[in-house]
């Protein structure tokens, strides 16, 4: 594990029009680490990810990823640094088949990834998608769409993946499958930042946890320690 952080956020502020959502978030994620970002609804978890991806109208502070300053970049440039994002809404593109949605993950990637081989490979990882490659993406069940969104983000082999509530509204059996997948990704050396409402599940997967509340970091520590500390969980994460 590298000593310097792969992702380093310092004093991140973000606004939606006049509303000031993030009030100086600071956090670090080391390469190969799985970090759970938890907190109540509206605490600013999604906004933190969106600001990192350049999708907020206004954001200030410092976000360094792989040695590069992200905030001055245009949104699409983050992909080329190896940063992937699976938004909460999944954003499976209507009118496109599962295969085409997967191909979208590669349209901007360099020519060093061969499309057909990459789709075959990802289909092996996601057997549920393999059977439905030619079906329209939005006709999949919610859980399968989530799998597709994750597969689409993984296909270009990013260094780090930001996941926004991947377990939301999904059958328990699929949540289980997803947990297995995330552990495997971790074993492969991928770095994950996992935003979750399903706190226990996320903490069991993560190495470390960061809790944010009202746009500020209120707790940071090992995931295992937080898992056994019901008092803090109730204070900041109870719905």
């Amino acid at each position: 594990m590298a000593e310097t952080a792969l992702l380093e956020i310092e004093n991140l502020h973000a606004w939606y029009g006049p509303s000031h959502i993030l009030h100086g978030i600071s956090l670090r994620v080391k390469e190969g680490e799985v970090v759970a970002l938890v907190g109540r609804n509206g605490a600013g978890k999604t906004t933190t990810l969106r600001a990192m991806m350049g999708l907020m109208p206004k954001a200030t502070g410092r976000v360094r990823f792989a040695g590069r300053e992200l905030l001055p970049l245009r949104a699409h440039q983050r992909f080329h640094l190896g940063l992937a994002y699976v938004p909460e809404e999944r954003r499976i593109v209507p009118g496109l088949s599962v295969r085409e949605n997967l191909r979208l993950g590669l349209v901007a990637a360099g020519s060093d990834i061969e499309e057909r081989a990459a789709i075959d490979e990802i289909a092996e990882t996601f057997p549920r998608l393999k059977e439905r490659l030619d079906q329209e993406g939005v006709t999949l069940s919610g859980g399968e769409q989530q799998m597709l969104a994750i597969a689409r983000a993984l296909i270009a082999r990013p260094r780090m993946i930001l996941l926004d509530e991947p377990s939301e509204g999904i059958m328990p059996v699929l949540v289980e499958e997803m947990g297995v997948l995330f552990r495997r990704l971790r074993d492969e050396g991928k770095t994950l930042l996992l935003v979750e409402q399903n706190v226990e599940w996320a903490l069991r997967l993560a190495d470390r946890a960061v809790i944010i509340d009202q746009g500020e970091v209120v707790h940071e520590g090992s995931a295992a320690a937080l898992l056994s500390d019901k008092a803090i969980q109730d204070r900041y994460c109870a719905v």
Binding site: M53, G54, L55, R74, A75, H76, Q77, R78, F79, H80, A84, Y85, P87, R91, V93, P94, G95, L96, E100, R103, L104, G105, V107, A108, A109, R152, A156
Partner: protein, 291 residues
């Protein structure tokens, strides 16, 4: 009235419709992808006709005019997007509409100053003068050429859209530009190219229409109205819709002209009214995106 006459009139309608299809296609692609209602589309059609005429006389060949005018005017369209339209993304749909509305006046007046207000004849290329014997009647060679060329352009566009990586980006970008940015696509560059393509199609329509209509600074305003009718009938943003509706309008005008010439100009508006009453989103439009 015999059948062969009706068939010949049908062919005329398809030729008329072919130019409408190309023009409406540019309008509908730009709307579907960028959400911009381009009121300068008719003026750019007119500029295309003038550019074709000018380049044809400069090079001595219609074919150079046909090839170069869409490229040049398409590049001009990209300049318009880069300098003007781009600043209005994310604002109300009225803003680019008003901007292009004003731009169309600037373009029309500009052409009037440079080329004068009078119509200029656009000579038919020598290879396409005259008529062809189809067995059941004689049909102008030029119109046949227009039908074939438009068919080829449509085929190429379709292949690009359905079979290439760029086409996939365009189809997905029209539905969800945000996810395309997340996936590393510089969507601004895609929009620039699409606006250029839309304008190039208007210019191509203008050059093709040149020998069939007279070239004058006002020729774009009727075309704009026709192109809007076609896109509304077909469904705003729908490419298939533009093709079907363009041919439908062209054929209707031609056939009605055969039986009741005085009704020919209003038939397309009647068609639009009927479609709007029955299917407000247009024949191939997406629900919720009504005209």
């Amino acid at each position: 009235m015999d059948l062969s006459l009706i068939i010949m009139q049908l062919l005329s309608g398809i030729a008329l419709g072919a130019v409408l299809v190309i023009t409406a296609l540019g309008l509908t692609i730009v709307f579907g992808m960028l959400g911009v209602v381009n009121f300068a589309h008719g003026a750019l059609f007119m500029i295309g006709a003038y550019a074709g005429l000018y380049l044809a006389s400069l090079t001595g060949s219609f074919w150079w005019g046909l090839l170069l005018a869409p490229i040049l005017i398409g590049a001009f369209g990209m300049l318009i997007e880069f300098l003007l339209i781009r600043r209005l993304y994310g604002r109300s749909i009225d803003d680019p509409l008003l901007l292009t509305f004003g731009l169309s006046y600037v373009l029309v007046e500009g052409v009037r100053i440079v080329f004068g207000s009078d119509g200029i004849p656009f000579p038919t290329p020598p290879q396409l003068i005259g008529v062809l014997d189809l067995g059941i009647g004689f049909f102008p060679r030029y119109r046949l050429f227009v039908i074939l060329l438009v068919a080829v352009v449509l085929l190429v566009l379709w292949l690009m859209l359905e079979k290439t990586r760029v086409g996939l980006i365009v189809r997905a970008g029209a539905r969800d530009p945000t996810i395309m940015q997340v996936l590393g696509v510089d969507i601004g560059r895609v929009w620039l190219a699409i606006f250029g393509l839309g304008v190039a199609l208007a210019a191509l329509g203008g050059v093709l229409a040149g020998p069939m209509r007279s070239v004058n600074p006002e020729m774009g305003s009727l075309v704009l109205a026709e192109a809007f009718v076609v896109t509304v009938i077909g469904g705003l943003g729908s490419i298939v819709g533009a093709v079907v509706a363009g041919l439908m309008v062209g054929v209707s005008i031609s056939l009605v002209a055969l039986f009741a010439p005085e009704m020919a100009t209003i038939v397309m508006f009647a068609l639009m009214a009927v479609v709007l009453l029955i299917r407000p989103q247009g024949l191939f439009g997406v629900k919720g995106r009504t005209a």
